[in-house]
Amino acid sequence: MSSRSSHRVVWNVLGVVVFAVMVFPVFWMISTAFKPDDEISSVTPTWFSGSPTLQHFRDALARPYFWADVRNSLIVVLVTVAIAVAFAFLSAVALAKYRFNGRQLFIVLVIGIQMLPAAGLIIPLYVVLARYHQVNALSGVILVYLSTALPFCVWTLRGFILGIPKDLEEAAMVDGSTRLGAFVKILLPLVAPGLVATSVFTFITSWNEYIFARVLLSDSSKQTITVWLSYFLGTSRNIDWGAVMAASTLIAIPVVIFFLLVQRRISFGLTAGAVRG
């Protein structure tokens, strides 16, 4: 027994070390964002600032195009989420509740498309969108994000709908409602957590997306916030690390908050099949 508890202490110490190493970059980002410039430029780092400042946040917000690009990101993300979740829900119902010709093919496509690397698609998407004047337009980016978000949303929502007991739905139908009526009255409230989870996940992936936004949007005033951040470093010789970290913190915050809300459901969705064998 004593050897067991001494083992436990060693494991605990190791666990805390793992925690410290993993979290350090995040800590360092936030800590730097609040430090005055002399503490940042010093070769000997300060762990916690003695005189924290909000100056870097003011500098970051005052940078050209910050607000314009935040607005662009929000437009792209919100439109993508609304369309993706609505369309995907309909398909998910079809997959979960009906047997039909081509079902198998549809599932293969839904899973297979998620495996395509984004880099492999930039050339055809750029050329096709250019043909229809959708390059350097938010609408083009929204269309591209839909194509990556839809398969994931369909697959995840399908899992949520399958989780609903059949009796509930049948009970609603006995009450004299049509099949569609049963869906709306019974299914919708029960699938609500699934809709929230897929919405948030789509929000995060669209907010974080870089390569398509970089390729498709060239005007500074039309870019998304990740592209804005990626150009932050390159513009000056003396890098203002405080402002870079303040901007990074601001861009990460919405993602962190949303992610904490749905993390459990999403990790389940990605590997549900594997865990259950």
């Binding site: 979290v23 369309f87 690397p117 984004a118 974080n208 470093l233 861009i251 990460a252 549900a272 099949g273």
Partner: protein
């Protein structure tokens, strides 16, 4: 009825994925540069683009580099991830909650943000990594440049990718480990089995399916990676000696506005990925069937 429900998704996917992929094939058989982009019309040149790519030593070097890069990254992610998951099973509850919370925090970091943090931590002037390594007497890292050679640039990219990928792996493997029946482990302990044997004969069979899925997902993600190497190495420092597949494609097709040749590279890359994803798709398909 089901077809009506599927219609919106099918129409959207057909228009923004099916049609471009059809175009990808025709593009790859054409000379299609900036002039043709403006004209909306390419010139048919047969398999010339494919011949040009397959005769380009840069393509083969990049492919080999990307394969090695993928193997190293996936190996490190899976190995370290499994070890941390096994550790999380053994710690006290408060440490477990601490580690899980930290992992979720890391998981949620946007890749572009993580790149900025990496550049700040590893910059040669006053990066905290150089300071810590020197203080811990690992060596003299005063003003050490972490991005000097293509190898070191890709090694730094690996640290960034593995760090970002660990949370998903650890949390998923941990979930699988909690499915291992307690009685089995206790019975094995009573029989006097060594911990290595318990791991191999009791734990491994339960978590192997999960490890396989995670490994195949990681292979696909790392093979097609773009954002982290492109931004961490820096747009101005990207050269053929540090190309990965995604970057090669981006530079040859998009930056040089040779869309026909870029399309040929895309098709080759997508074909490799498709071949690799067969395993994953078949597995997930079985899941779709049993439900």
């Amino acid at each position: 009825m089901p077809y009506l429900l599927l219609a919106p998704v099918v129409v959207v996917m057909g228009a923004i994925l099916g049609y471009p992929i059809y175009n990808l094939v025709t593009l790859s058989l054409q000379r299609y540069g900036l002039f043709e982009l403006i004209q909306h019309h390419g010139v048919y040149i047969g398999l010339h683009n494919f011949a040009s790519v397959l005769h380009d030593p840069v393509f083969w070097h990049t492919l080999l580099r990307t394969v090695v890069f993928t193997v190293v990254n996936v190996g490190l992610t899976m190995g370290i991830g499994t070890l941390i998951a096994l550790l999380v099973v053994r710690v006290s509850t408060w440490v477990r909650l601490l580690v899980t919370a930290g992992l979720v925090l890391v998981w949620s970091m946007p890749p572009v943000v993580a790149v900025q943090v990496w550049q700040w931590m590893t910059n040669s002037q006053n990066g905290v990594v150089n300071y810590l390594l020197t203080e811990l007497h690992v060596g003299d890292y005063f003003q050490h440049n972490w991005y000097e050679t293509p190898f070191s640039q890709l090694a730094m990219t690996t640290t960034l990718i593995v760090w970002g990928a660990l949370p998903f792996v650890v949390i998923t493997v941990y979930a699988a480990l909690s499915q291992v029946p307690h009685e089995l482990i206790e019975a094995a302990e009573i029989d006097g089995a060594r911990s290595w044997r318990i791991f191999r004969d009791v734990t491994m069979p339960v978590i192997t399916p999960v490890l396989l899925i995670l490994a195949s997902l990681s292979i696909l993600w790392d093979f097609g990676v773009f954002t982290q190497p492109y931004l961490l190495i820096g747009q101005g420092h990207i050269v053929p000696a540090n190309y990965l597949m995604g970057i090669y494609l981006f530079e040859e097709g998009y930056v040089k506005t040779d869309f026909g040749r870029g399309a040929a590279i895309s098709i080759l890359m997508l074909a490799i990925v498709a071949a690799m994803s067969v395993v994953y798709v078949r597995r997930m398909l079985r899941v779709g069937e049993t439900e």
